[in-house]
């Protein structure tokens, strides 16, 4: 007889088995007013299931999936179910959010260290479908002296991890769309980009741990330009790109980065009906 403690599935009407964490997220965004179809439910469940099967779900810190067109739903983290706060002018469209580049951002309400990130391990990612025009434009992170974020100018992407600018790898000049991931793991600092054509390495550096992780609140679509602990905030470097997903977690192997970003692409395209650049 199957052990219910091992087989943890929720059986919904129509026979669709949904992962319980996926189900909890869907319930939360529906309570906020989001409409989620059966097909979308399956894509979300399949994403979470795949991440668990690959042993990556536990290392995922936070994932914001702002595709619902509703601020309250978009603010909910798929992993933790906690809500960030959207601040300023952010357009909540079907499939993405877009800050105005001057006032709009997401105050996540969390700090990196609470999720185990450190100078030796980190994974920052963002899915964007239209380039930023603002410069500099931070995707996710925080820090003033202890800069800990990914950002772009009008031609290139750059990682910054724990104020080790010289060690984080040079920026790479590319069209600034797709899934950008910065992966600090096992001595490597790898900046990668996935588009429909595939995944490529933009920059790769191997070196020792350096710098100090910023203790401040993490922002997305902008930087929190302080290293002071919450509630101090200094919004800056607003990003006006279109975001379909953004988040962070522990560092992982490059192979896992490849698999995670592919899974994320499948999730976003499946739920939104749009196509990654």
């Amino acid at each position: 007889m199957p052990n219910p403690l091992i087989i943890r599935r929720v059986l919904l009407s129509g026979g669709l088995r949904v992962d319980p964490d996926a189900a909890a997220y869907i319930a939360a965004i529906k309570a906020a007013g989001a409409t989620v179809s059966g097909a979308q439910t399956k894509f979300i469940s399949d994403f979470v299931t795949a991440e668990k099967t690959a042993n990556r779900w536990a290392g995922l810190g936070c994932l914001w999936f702002p595709v619902w067109g509703i601020a309250a739903a978009n603010a909910i983290c798929m992993k933790t179910l906690m809500s960030g706060t959207f601040v300023g002018s952010v357009t909540h469209a079907s499939g993405y959010i877009q800050g105005d580049g001057a006032t709009g951002y997401l105050n996540t309400g969390v700090v990196f260290s609470s999720y185990g990130l450190s100078p030796s391990t980190a994974y920052l990612f963002s899915l964007t479908t239209q380039q930023n025009t603002t410069n500099p434009a931070v995707f996710i992170g925080c820090g003033n002296v202890n800069t800990s974020y990914t950002y772009a100018n009008t031609t290139s992407y750059f990682p910054r991890w724990c104020n080790s600018a010289s060690q984080s790898g040079a920026g790479a000049t590319v069209t600034r769309t797709g899934i950008i991931s910065f992966n600090r793991f096992s001595g490597d600092r790898i900046l990668s980009r996935r588009i429909t054509a595939g995944k490529s390495t933009l920059a790769s550096v191997t070196n020792a741990d350096a710098g100090t992780l910023s203790a401040s609140t993490v922002f997305a679509l902008a930087n929190n330009g302080t290293d002071s602990v919450p509630p101090t905030i200094v919004p800056q470097f607003f990003n006006d790109a279109r975001f379909g997903a953004v988040g962070f977690g522990l560092g992982m192997t490059d192979a896992n980065d490849t698999a995670f970003t592919l899974n994320l692409k499948t999730l976003w395209e499946g739920v939104t009906g749009l196509v990654l650049p």
Binding site: G88, D100, Q236
Partner: protein, 96 residues
């Protein structure tokens, strides 16, 4: 160019606290705020663009669909009291 209400710091803090209270008093998280931007003349801008007015916050409602939204708007003088500020009006926050 940013459209919003130009206020002193104390008013900014009251407005933002009221926006927060309007959410948590309903038993939901603090998921939305106008925020405030410090200006070079030591005033603050509470951004309230036409896009923000049209943002669906929760359960199909926009900011001015909530009674608190209407009350705060009245306190600030109505939509016609908004001003346009430029990037030059904003206090410098340094480089990357």
């Amino acid at each position: 160019m940013i459209l919003g209400f130009k206020v002193i710091k104390e008013v900014k803090e009251i407005i933002l606290e009221q926006i927060k209270n309007a959410q948590i008093s309903r038993g939901v998280p603090h998921y939305w705020s106008t925020g405030g931007i410090e200006l070079v003349d030591n005033y603050w801008l509470i951004p309230f663009t036409d896009s923000m007015i049209e943002t669906v916050l929760r359960e199909g409602k926009r900011p001015l669909d909530f009674p608190e939204g209407q009350q705060l708007l009245a306190m600030l003088g109505g939509l016609e009291a908004r001003v346009l500020i430029t990037q030059n009006d904003i206090k410098d926050v340094g480089g990357v």
